[in-house]
Amino acid sequence: MFNNAKGNYGNLLKIKVFVFISLAVLNPNYGNHCSDVTMVTSTILDINDGIENNYPQQIIKGIVTDEAGIPLAGANIVEKGTTNGVTADFDGNYSIDISDGNATLVVSFIGYTTKEVAVNGQTTVNIALEESSTGLDEVVVVGYGTQKKVSLTSAVASVNGEDLRKRTVTKIEQSLQGNVSGLTVQDLGGAPGTSRMNLRIRGVTTLSGNNEPLVIIDGIEQPLTNINPNDIESLTVLKDASSTAIYGSRASNGVVLVTTKRGKEGKVSVSLNSYYGIQKSNNNPVHMGLEDYMRMQNIAWTNSSGSPIYTEEYIQEYINATDRIKYPLPNTWFDGDFLKNAPQTSTSVTISGGTDKMSSLLTVRHLDEDGIIPHSNANTTDIRFNSDFQVHPKIKISSDVNYRYIHAANPLDPDRVTLDMLQRSQWIVPKYPDGTYGVSSDGRSPLMYADLAGANNKYQNYFLANLKGEWEIVNGLKFTMQYGIRTTLDKQKRYSNKFEIFAYQDPSKRLVNNPINSLIEDRNDDRETTLNALFNYSKTFGGHDFNMLAGYSEIDHTESILSARRQNFYSNDIQSISQGANDATKDNGGSDLEWRLRSYFGRLNYSFLNRYLFEANIRYDGSSRFASGNEYSTFPSLSAGWRISEEEFWSGLKETVGEFKLRGSYGKSGNQAVAPYSYLATLNAQNYSFGGTAVQGYRQTLLANRDISWETTTQTDIGMDLTMFKGKISLTADYYHKKTEDILLIVPVPATLGLQSTARNTGRVDNTGWEFSLGLRNDYGDFKVDTNFNFSINNNEVDDLAGTGPYIQGGNESRFITKEGLPIMSWWGYKTDGYFQTPEEVAGYPKIIASAQPGDVKFVDNNGDGVINPDDMVYLGESFPKYNFGANLNFTYKPFTLSMLFQGAAGYNARLGGALAEMGIWGGFTHEVTGDYWTPDNPNARFPRPLKFDLRNIIMSDRDLLNGNYLRLKNIQLEYRLPKSLIDVVGIQSANVYLATTNLLTFSQLNDFDIDPEERVSGRAQTYPQTSITTLGVNINF
């Protein structure tokens, strides 16, 4: 494998190091991560310290710069015809041992023209690379292939893996936030090991729920979540129809293409990427002060029942008390130690290298996340082995294997902990001195729940095998065959403990009794195979460039679910399903599902003089989700580009504007996101019993739709790419119009039909928008600036619901409407006009509740009919951001790099519900902001008069909507590159350390309530708390 004899010794050492680190990473008892990393690192130093080179050799040194003499850190220097190569350090310095004084060095760097330099016996060779005109050679991954960036005619954004890896995130989606124009990433938080990320490319196109883009990793559809960020070579987002049509029926929400790293010809290299981070709760709501709270409660009780609940003496006694066991504070969860700071560690080691016959890359990663609520943590182990075999000069076989194991442990229902914390745990002493849990009057406590209720363990085994053969049949004609198998085995064990809580004051009194323990165990086995066969032909003659692709693809997806339940285990520690009572209480269930896709597709690229560019795509897709006759549909696209900067007349401008391209595209893509078997009238099992004996029953519950078919998105895109001042300024702008027709919509049907609705092809949704991406980079001597700004606007509108609708979902907590002329899922409710101020005003205006008083919300009688009822509800705002923006700022000064990522969204509203909005109506968390409530003395208050047990003022209205706009410093990172002089001693090629923090700064109206602007699912803020993480990390390349 290692044909360079001199490399052997070093390589062996590296392998030892790798094995050592891998063992450390994978060690299940990998307890104290921080010290382990230190230990591993120091071991490496020891090993490398001992390297003595016994062979006589010639050392060539030098510096690689650009034309202006600025060092090019990271440039590759390879001895021609060998695998012997090195990388230039931060100052552009390199040092290479060569075997032959007449060798030739091949020097390359992205964005620069590769140069070959003969050594000719010199010992110092300085090399200046020429900037290739605006990255002409830069290649972008597109559907079933790659294309030169300059010849692209479609709207494609790409991010390189290095930029993604820079941000310390547990989910790769987080690092896409703010990095790609037109891509909205909503991070909805979640317990460790679970992911709740929403990705939307150019808005929401369908009403049926599936708006997630198609994610293709190395040619196989795979989940993006949990992929090791260190494995990513590049990530491409396909946005317009011209680029996505080749994926036909799954592409209407856009496509994300990920390419993983592969071993490269050259010396074996090992790199280590490790960090240690501390997560802390990002938003800690502040409870109203004790006295204020008691007085507000008195007003609320008085308003509702005529008399206060606390006497003045009691209030004084309470606030002056020091014994907070006898006089507990209202809600202490957020300022106590319940939400703990939780560590997170990640270590990823990559070993890669190869010869001209074979190359490989092996990555091992271990991620350990502790949750900020007790008993929640997750760990992930990921192993990837990508290999390439050049079995013949014209035949290459690749084989990738990826295995991932995730174990997430949480309290029985982690969201319930937050729910109890906010809604149901007023006046609790979390734990009494003797260890007894304090519980609320209805037997709740988040701490008790987290500690005692039980455990929810999720295990996932993910396997991927990806086999690929490439055969260059004749020059220019290539055949590629790919077969991938993806299997996910999910196991979930939800164990509910039996437990009791007795009163601290009176241990004979049982406050909580959960007398039966039980286990629900689920197994989900999900398997998908993909077969791709592609012919690629390219031909160049004269100024003509042809590129053709013809392909065939098959996907077969099966899923099977098995679940079992038993109860009455001997004790809470016995948690195996067989140990529960073997009687009528045991239960099991399951389901099976299969869907398939068969597709034929092709692409033609033609360019003339590298100046006039054309592309056409077509895909003919068949899906098993539709009845015969509706199975197949065709998705074509066309696009063209004109590189004006290549025209003769541009030559004068070429110095300033090196690249200027106009492009346009038009095409169709589809969505088959309808539940399998929807076209069949199926009968569901329904239990009943006669005289205590169970009987079987079957009944049709869903409306069958035999005509169900594809949803089609037609998209037009006009864009331009501009590069000025040799790449110092780059600008991409796009305008698009996306029209989605025959939307697969679960149309509400009259309840009188007596069957639940299934998806129907109904209606049309329009998305139009603009996307801008501006890159600015410059060097001022030692100070380098590299920034990228992106901004996108998306206008969403339901165009046509084919005579149906409007569809109103939700209720007083949060109500949405999907109606022609409005954005999908707009907020829908009453308009308000402040608060009633006087009895006369109350008397003179219609009321939602007859007993309204001054201080109650004045709901507007919109239609003026003298009553307030659902007919008065109106559009209140959008629920999905209209504007998205991001700024990625990188400043480098000598060995320091400061990176900041700002990210935000605007043009939408969020709604707050539950305790935070309800002003202590029940015994829930009462935020201090609600202290500004209406009284006769405070008529211009922000909140209405307090009431007890009365939701009249919390009816879904514009009053409860908050401006959702936010801007946040998503990530800030300071990186320090260790000086060469220091690491040279230990034989390390490069090393840097960094300190980073996420979500450090947020500007948002939701800050008033200490709600994370990105968490906006239910508005109750009762999901797993979001965190900010501060990390210290190292990247080392050996």
């Binding site: 035949i395 209805d442 086999l467 098959e554 015969s628 029953g697 009944r699």
Partner: protein
């Protein structure tokens, strides 16, 4: 040669993995039954009928909530939709209203689909199929009774409905709905057996009993009395000797039960215990509690009203010497709980039942006792006790009421009432020598509320008697001796039970139905 070998490698890959099956896209399900392959045998018809039995009653909530929205009960948690209705704050968009409407039509369409398909095959036993059809028609009629009572004029599909048809349905006048219910139940009763072949299946008596109820609700008193008489004359129904045990597992399927919603633990269970149990037994929900009105209506055991000075009522000992059914139906201070402890709802008593001790404690000082059985206490959401939908005592009282309202008063009216009052462990004094319509009307109404409390009937009774608007206002709870030794009555200040006589006798047609079907009209006042 080597080159060829490698080429073959690639070709083999295609051969191994490519699927040349023309039916590749044909993936029939194996985890569900497709309608086209069903409806082949008598057994399929039986299974299809089984699946429609749950439409007798959606769930325990739909059993317990009605009386809580009436004068004798109260919904504890004010965020509950039922509380919103109790206070008159509901409107056409209220989810509970939509839920009740949807459930009824789901049952109706289920039966219509059954009737449309059950003749698709040649049955082995034609009489079985006829019987099943009759059972299903009774289930459909039951849905229409609920709809007619709550909404008045309603769409009345009587055969399988397509989506297109459902979008243009119009409301059928309620009198025609009653006509349909009556004729359906009459013809079903002609087919159904007197004794069920399988416990819990619908019988002739169930069809006639529901017919009685429907006709009574419709105000067709003569016909109602006739139907009740038919049930009585079947001779198979008798009062269960113990009222106290009637709502326990012991009395399930007794000869008093005419129609019930059958439940079985772990198979087909309800949460009745969870819904109504006192907070001290199960500190979770306790959704529905009785009011002072619902307690004071029980007379003294001597038959006298408690406000009658000669009744012997002792305000300091208010629960002794009363109609025994008070103690069987309601927990009052001093009652023994199923766990053996004493129920003490006095504020500050230190028990979970103390008024004001939590959001989930009783607000009135009373709790419902009916259907709380020790067997269900260990897992309150897994109750197997059947909930009775129609029992013989109801039929007797409906007979009496129909005769009184028709002013056809004879000894059989008094006999029917007295039969109910003379159940061994009730043993209330017999009514005799009365013939005044107004007086008897009040007697039979009072008898209904104490006999049938918390069985889901009171809300409908006060609506059809048009007395609902008189039973509103502030809710009161128990009267107890406070720490100073004075009698205090719990008052739920600020809580106003509301009923607008110009609007609330009918619920609004659900808002979404009106949006989807322009042919539907709204009820007055909504």
């Amino acid at each position: 040669m080597k080159y060829l070998r490698h080429r073959l490698l690639i070709i083999f890959m295609i051969a191994i993995f490519a699927n040349c099956d023309d039916n590749f896209l044909d993936t029939p399900p194996n985890d569900r039954i497709v309608s086209e392959f069903f409806w082949n045998s008598d057994n399929d018809a039986i299974m299809a009928s089984n699946a429609l039995y749950p439409f007798l009653l959606q769930d325990a909530m739909n059993f317990a909530m009605w009386d809580a929205m009436s004068d004798i009960g109260h919904v504890t948690l004010q965020w509950r939709q039922e509380s919103i209705i109790e206070r008159g704050f509901h409107n056409a968009a209220s989810p509970t209203i939509a839920r009740i409407w949807s459930f009824a039509y789901e049952g109706i369409q289920g039966v219509n689909i059954f009737l449309a398909n059950v003749d698709d095959f040649v049955p082995a036993s034609p009489s079985l199929i006829e019987r099943l059809k009759a059972e299903m028609r009774v289930i459909r009629a039951k849905q229409y009774i609920d709809l007619a009572m709550l909404f008045g004029d309603v769409p009345m599909p009587t055969s399988e409905l397509t989506l297109e048809e459902s979008l243009v349905l119009t409301r059928t006048p309620v009198s025609e709905v009653w006509d349909f219910i009556s004729s359906e139940l009459t013809s079903a009763a002609a087919v159904l057996p007197t004794t069920a072949s399988q416990t819990g299946r619908i019988t002739k008596g169930a069809a006639l009993g529901l017919k009685t109820r429907a006709l009574l609700y419709a105000g067709r008193y003569n016909e109602a009395a006739e139907a009740a008489k038919e049930v009585i004359d079947l001779g198979v129904y008798h009062l269960y000797p113990s009222y106290e045990n009637l709502f326990t597992y012991d009395a399930q399927n007794s000869s008093e039960v005419i129609l019930d919603r059958q439940y079985t633990q772990n198979v087909n269970q309800s949460n009745i215990y969870d819904l109504t149990t006192p907070n001290s037994l199960w500190p979770q929900t306790n959704d529905f509690v009785p009011t002072k009105l619902g307690v004071d209506i029980y007379k003294m055991a001597n038959g006298k009203d408690i406000i009658d000075p000669s009744s012997g009522f002792d305000p300091n000992n208010p629960y002794s010497g009363r109609d025994p059914r008070l103690g069987y139906n309601i927990f009052t201070i001093g009652s023994v709980l199923p766990n053996g402890l004493i129920y003490d709802s006095r504020p500050g008593s230190g028990t979970g039942d103390a008024v004001g001790s939590s959001e989930n404690s009783t607000f009135s000082g009373f709790n419902v006792k009916k259907y709380l059985t020790p067997e269900d206490s260990s897992n309150p959401n897994n109750c197997g006790i059947n909930l009775i939908l129609l029992r013989y005592a109801d039929v007797l009282l409906m007979y009496a009421e129909a005769k009184v309202e028709a002013n056809d008063i004879d000894q059989s009216v008094l006999d029917a009432i007295n039969e109910v009052r003379s159940r061994p462990d009730v043993n209330m004094p017999a009514i005799s020598g009365l013939s005044d319509q107004a007086e008897l009307r009040q007697i039979v109404r009072d008898e209904r509320v104490v006999e049938l409390a918390f069985e889901g009937l009171r809300y409908f009774d006060i609506k059809r008697w048009k007395i609902a608007e008189n039973l509103t206002g502030t809710i009161f709870g128990m009267t107890y001796e406070n720490n100073d030794g004075n009698l205090t009555t719990i008052e739920l200040t600020g809580f106003n039970k509301a009923f607008n006589k110009d609007r609330d006798y009918l619920w609004p047609i659900p808002f979404n139905e009106l949006v989807l079907n322009p042919n539907l009209t709204q009820n007055p006042g909504w």
